[in-house]
Subunit: 334 residues, 2 copies
DNA sequence: ATATTTTATGCAAACGATTGTACAAACCTT
DNA sequence: AAGGTTTGTACAATCGTTTGCATAAAATAT
C-alpha cells in the first residue's frame, strides 16, 4: 500500500506538500498540485484513516447500536441512519447487542476512544447508566426508537398517543373485549403503549381485564404461545392489540390455529408497519412508525452535535405515527 | 481521556512498562504490575485502538457488506458473523449497499486501508471486479450467500440442488403447471435456482412454459404485481415456486386477492425459511437455508485467513439446505 | 535597485501506542 | 568476592498522517 511518502517521492515534493495538496486548505502551486495528483493516481494512494484519525482526533465514523438486528424495525432505522451519514461523509458501524447489556458495554468500550465520533442507540432503557455516562463525558449521543427520560437527545414517536388512538379505533369499531400483547415492560416504550391502552379503555368506560393482558418478554417470542394458551382456556377477546407487528403475526397464527377467523371472530391491530405487514392475511391494520425517517433524523442530529453545534438542552423529538387501516379489523354492531 | 503516559506517570513507571504490563508478553515485576493495574483502573484507561492499529498494522475489525439490510436473510447471516467475530475478539462493521455498486466500492475504499483486516461480502456478482481485485491484492476476503465462481472463498448452499429438490417435491405431490418467481438472473444464485427448476421439470418430462416464468428484478419487489398480472391474464398455475420467502409472501397475497386459495387452488413453496415463514397463512413450505450457520462459518474462515492460516486454493464450501414441509402445498390427485 | 510583503515549500514535532536495544540491579555460580 | 546470568525497566525509534514554524523564492512596493 502506497503511503504519503511514496507519493511525495514520486512527485518530487515533501510529504507535507502532498498532505496540503490533498486537503486544499493551504495554497499549493498549481503545477505542483498536478504532479501530486498524478502520483496519487499512479500509486492508487489512499490516506490511512487510522493515522489521520490519530492526528485529527476524529474519524468521521458513528456507531449505531441496535438490540436485535433480526427485528425488521431496526434494519429500517439503520437504513435511514446510513443514508444520511453517507451524505455527510460519515461511515456507520452497526453493532447488534441481542439485548445483552454486557455485549453492549463491550461494544461501547471498544468504539469509544477515538474510534467513533458519536453514538446512536436504539437500545436505551431506564437503567442504561453507561449511555448516560457517555453523554456526561461530552460524547455526542442520540437515542432513537427507545428513549430515557428527557436527559438525552432522542428521536421517537409518541407511543402513548399512538397506542391510545389505535385502541380507540378498536373501541369505535365496536370492540369491547380488547386483549393487549405487550412487550418488555421495563422499556419506557412498552410502558407508554400500555398506558395508552389503559386510558383508551378507561375513557370509554371499559375495564382493564387482567386475563386479557398478555406479557411477552423473550427476545424472539412473538406471543403465539401466550395467545394460544389464552384461547385454550376459553378466554375469548373480540380484538387483539399487538404492540409490535411480529406479535400481531404470532397472534393471527394462534387465532387461526384455534379455528377462529381474523377479523371475523377476532380483530387484530399491530404496531410498526413492517414491509410485509401489508401482505399478510388479512393485510394488517397497524400503527405506522416512520422508521426510516426516524433514523435519518437521529443521524442528522448526531452529526450536528459532532460538528460542534451548540446543543444546549437535550431535546426529545416526537415524530408522527399514523394508524394505517387495512383489513384485520372488522366493524362490529351490538 | 487518559493515555498510556498518564497511567505511566501515576504508576511511577515508563509508558513501555505499562504497555508490557498490559500485554503480558514480557515479564513484569508483580508489584509493578499491580501499581500499573491500579492506575489503569483509577484513570479508566482504555488503549487507543487507532494508535494500536497504526503500530501493529491490524485492527481486529472485519467488514461485512450486505446488499439489502431490510431483507431478513442478511440480518440472520449478520448475527452469525457477529457472534463468531466477538468470540475471537473481532468487531464487525456492517455496511449496507442497497444493491448499489458505487456505494459498495465507496465503502470498500474507505474500509480498505488498514481499517479492516478482512471482508465478508454478501453482495458478490459475476462482475464484482473490485472484490476480485481485493483478493488479488492479498486482502482476506470471504463470500457468503452469493458467490463468484471458484476464484474466491465462499460459504453458500447448493442452490441448484435445493431448487431441484423443491420443484421435484411439487411434482411428486401432483403438480404439473409450476410457476417460478425468479430473482435477478445476473446473480449466479438465481441462475442456479432456475436451472434446478428447469432440470426438475425436464427430468419429469414436463415442459418449461415461458408464461409461467416470472422475473422480478427490483430490490423491494416481492412479485405481487407480476403474479397478479399473470392471474388476471387467465394464466393459472397449480403451484408457485418462489425463489425467496418475501416473494412467496407476495405471491400468496396476490393469489388470495384474485379469489383463489392457497394451497387449495395453488400451492406455494418459498426459499429462505425466515423467522416469520412458519407463522404465515398457510405456514410456508420452504427451503431452509442455515443462514446463521453460514454467517458463522464465513466469519471463522475469514478470521483464519487473517491469522495467516495458509489458505492455498480458495474453497467454496457448500452447506446443507433442507426443504421444510409445512402447509402451503396440497397433494393433488389426477 | 533595495526593502517589504506574499506565496510556496520543507523540516520536524506531534498524535498514542508497541518493541528492539541497552543498561542496572539482583541473583547465582565457583 | 569476582564473573556470569537473569530479570525488570527505561529510552528511543517507529507506524502514516497533519500542521506550526522557518525559510527560500517570487511578487510587489518604494
Amino acid at each position: 500500500m502506497a503511503t504519503i511518502k511514496d507519493v511525495a517521492k514520486r512527485a518530487g515534493v515533501s510529504p507535507s506538500t502532498v498532505s496540503r495538496a490533498l486537503s486544499g486548505k493551504v495554497p499549493v502551486d498549481k503545477e505542483t498540485r498536478e504532479r501530486v495528483m498524478e502520483a496519487v493516481r499512479a500509486l492508487n494512494y489512499k490516506p490511512n484513516i487510522l493515522a489521520k484519525g490519530l492526528k485529527e482526533g476524529r474519524t468521521n465514523t458513528v456507531g449505531l447500536i441496535v438490540p436485535n438486528i433480526c427485528n425488521p424495525v431496526f434494519p429500517a432505522v439503520a437504513r435511514g441512519v446510513e443514508d444520511v451519514a453517507r451524505e455527510h461523509g460519515f461511515t456507520v458501524i452497526l453493532c447488534n447487542t441481542d439485548e445483552n447489556i454486557e455485549a453492549e458495554k463491550d461494544y461501547v468500550e471498544k468504539l469509544q476512544k477515538r474510534w467513533v465520533d458519536g453514538f446512536i442507540f436504539a437500545t436505551a432503557r431506564e437503567e442504561s447508566q453507561h449511555i448516560f455516562e457517555l453523554k456526561e463525558k461530552g460524547f455526542p449521543v442520540v437515542l432513537v426508537v427507545r428513549h430515557m427520560g428527557q436527559a438525552v437527545d432522542a428521536v421517537v414517536i409518541d407511543n402513548y398517543k399512538s397506542s391510545f388512538e389505535a385502541v380507540k379505533y378498536l373501541i369505535n369499531t365496536g370492540h369491547r373485549r380488547i386483549c393487549i400483547i405487550n412487550g418488555d415492560t421495563s422499556l419506557t416504550l412498552y410502558k407508554e403503549r400500555f398506558e395508552g391502552y389503559r386510558h383508551a379503555l378507561q375513557a370509554a368506560g371499559l375495564p382493564v381485564v387482567p386475563e386479557l393482558v398478555l406479557d411477552v418478554a423473550g427476545r424472539d417470542d412473538n406471543g403465539y404461545g401466550a395467545v394460544t394458551a389464552m384461547l385454550k382456556k376459553g378466554i375469548l377477546p373480540d380484538a387483539v392489540f399487538a404492540t409490535s407487528d411480529p406479535r400481531a403475526i404470532g397472534a393471527i397464527r394462534a387465532i387461526k390455529d384455534c379455528g377462529l377467523s381474523v377479523p371475523g371472530d377476532v380483530s387484530v391491530v399491530g404496531f410498526d408497519d413492517l414491509d410485509i405487514s401489508a401482505f399478510l392475511d388479512p393485510p394488517l391494520t397497524t400503527v405506522s412508525q416512520p422508521l426510516y425517517e426516524m433514523g435519518a433524523r437521529a443521524a442528522r442530529r448526531l452529526i450536528d452535535m459532532i460538528n460542534g453545534e451548540k446543543s444546549g438542552q437535550p431535546k426529545v423529538e416526537l415524530v408522527e405515527a399514523n394508524l394505517v387501516i387495512r383489513k384485520s379489523v372488522k366493524v362490529r354492531e351490538h
